[in-house]
Symmetry: C2
Subunit: 355 residues, 2 copies
């Protein structure tokens, strides 16, 4: 055991950059055959997937903007930093492959938290067949930042862009919406004055939300699941013709798919799969559950457009992926995006705003 | 012209995330044929280079750690953010291809500075055949951060790793060393109390260093040149068998190439190509110019090892690349890295320390 008295390193700065890279390298599993040179040289060297196109995406988690260390353990941050990128690859109909981790660490960052962050990131990587190929580590003058770049692959004609939708296509969403926003809301109200939970020990006894559905919401905020399997299947089978993930909320995704496809969209409020815990949470706060759920970000479900003649194919995909999928509306010839509630259209609330 | 009074946007937050992405997209030149889907979808879609392996690298510029906005214009930051990554691709013997830009912008960031940053980044991209394929934009609770991921390609058997050196190989370095450290030193002494120069207007009249050599040093700190041509040639011709860039200084690079290759190294102080302005600057500060130049980071020259029988081939590379190259020592069978000065070996000073 290392303690401050024993002289063993307790801070990242005790190891230095090369020591940290070595510590990370020792934790990596056997690299896949396509990773020819991994962590430790000027660049990673990669054998491309034969006969496929490559997908490239990057997304950062910034302390104070995307997470609060009182609400998320280091392992949660590492897990989520990779998961939000995997969600982008899934939304393109692709399969994730290699990650680069760019870490910016505040002064006095504990080694224990670096290890925790890697625990989360490597657990997510292992569960989805992703190898850590390289990255960068530097100091930060303030926030902890985990910025991940993820590569993936897809057959050339199976890529799912945002712009392939046509009027009359049905709009579907995977899983449920609103859970992450509700979980974050709960944490802000109940956990705001508590000290930070220790890494990996969630939920601590005094932190537990009232019931299982709300615990699920908190967990969704901390560790979203990327819909990798259904995303790859929607691309491979061509059951969907446009797709996007809900990183910034359903309302934002609907608006973007419609705009990119040159269509409008109509969403039926009654059909929306609002998470049970989210519904209860927003009710208790006297907020409109539908409005809060469509505007809330961080759900990382997939929104996709399906042409009427592809419904049979979609059924097979749903059976194979074993993910609940709900039809929530359709793309329309008239431009504009409407939420239809009690028969009356209203404008869709905006999604998560980055600025 | 936009002024705060006219109602035209002056801050990034006036545009919103989608507005910013659209503003960036409008500035991009025609995409290369291998970029099938660029900025604006969940991920970029890329056709791999046929018969080549892919290189992947990432490097971040963090305000307060890697740059100071009093010393570097926004355009310098954008330029350098891409150049430091290109240097890593060059050090692998590769050719850069596609960049992802992950931007973290402080509250109240002016649109003028965003435009400046893109000016610098896109100028560097255009001059080296790199296309901007995507990225991410988010708020930062403090520092401005430009985190770039760069891909490149290389023939499979032409990759230049750090670990290919053998005892008896001569060590070479391109260009000169110490200039960036001297330039930063000059800025810290002379510009520390001045206000920030306007973007793109370097050098302002009251900022000019004493002579051309020092101006070059300041410029090297602000806008390092990646040694792309010579790096690709060293790989393609196999004139070198190990290579690394000097991002963290010559001393660090020599130690890392030697360690990775399982050798020691001996550097002859008399041969070191210390930049003339750096020599003068460190002399004037009563610092040892050799020690300061080998420890100073940010030069982005290349260090490489050449087997004795490859000297002829190296000569052709130097002729073709038109870059000055200096033999500064050799890899040795005895482990340990020594700087030989006046016939006496001394330990090499450490390079730039990230923690």
């Amino acid at each position: 055991m290392s303690t401050p008295d024993s002289g063993a390193p307790t801070l990242v700065s005790d190891l230095g950059e090369r020591g940290v890279i070595e510590r990370i390298r020792r934790r990596l599993p056997q690299p896949p055959p396509h990773l020819l040179v991994g962590v430790g040289d000027d660049a990673a060297v990669v054998e491309p997937e034969r006969g496929a196109v490559e997908l490239l995406t990057t997304d950062a988690l910034v302390e104070g903007i995307h997470f609060d260390r009182r609400f998320s353990s280091s392992a949660d941050v590492g897990y989520k930093a990779l998961a939000v990128n995997a969600s982008d690859i899934a939304a393109m109909g692709g399969t994730p492959r290699l990650a680069l981790l760019s870490l910016m660490l505040p002064e006095g960052f504990p080694l224990r938290d670096l290890d925790g962050l890697l625990d989360g990131l490597l657990a997510m990587a292992a569960s989805s067949g992703i190898a850590l190929a390289g990255g960068n580590i530097t100091r930060s003058p303030g926030p902890l930042i985990a910025d991940v770049t993820l590569t993936g692959w897809c057959r050339r004609r199976k890529v799912l862009t945002r712009n392939g939708g046509r009027p009359g296509d049905a709009l579907y969403v995977t899983g449920t919406i609103g859970a992450a926003a509700a979980g974050l809301g709960w944490l802000r109200v109940h956990a705001g004055t508590n000290t930070r939970p220790p890494a990996g020990a969630w939920p601590p006894p005094d932190f537990t939300p009232e019931d299982d559905a709300l615990t699920e919401c908190v967990r969704r905020h901390q560790r979203p699941e990327a819909r990798l399997r259904v995303g790859a299947l929607l691309g491979r089978t061509r059951a969907a013709r446009a797709c996007m993930d809900l990183s910034d909320g359903l309302a934002d995704a609907v608006a973007q798919v419609a705009e990119a496809s040159g269509t409008g969209a109509r969403i039926d409020a009654d059909t929306l799969p609002v998470h049970e815990g989210a519904r209860r949470w927003f009710d208790s706060r006297r907020e409109d559950p539908i409005g809060a759920a469509v505007a809330g970000g961080d759900d990382y479900e997939l929104l996709f457009a399906v042409s009427p003649r592809m419904r049979g194919r979609l059924k097979s995909v749903i059976r194979e992926a074993r993910v609940p999928v709900t039809c929530i509306g359709a793309l329309t010839a008239e431009v504009g995006v409407a939420l239809v509630r009690n028969g009356r259209p209203e404008p869709l609330p905006r999604g998560f705003v980055h600025f």
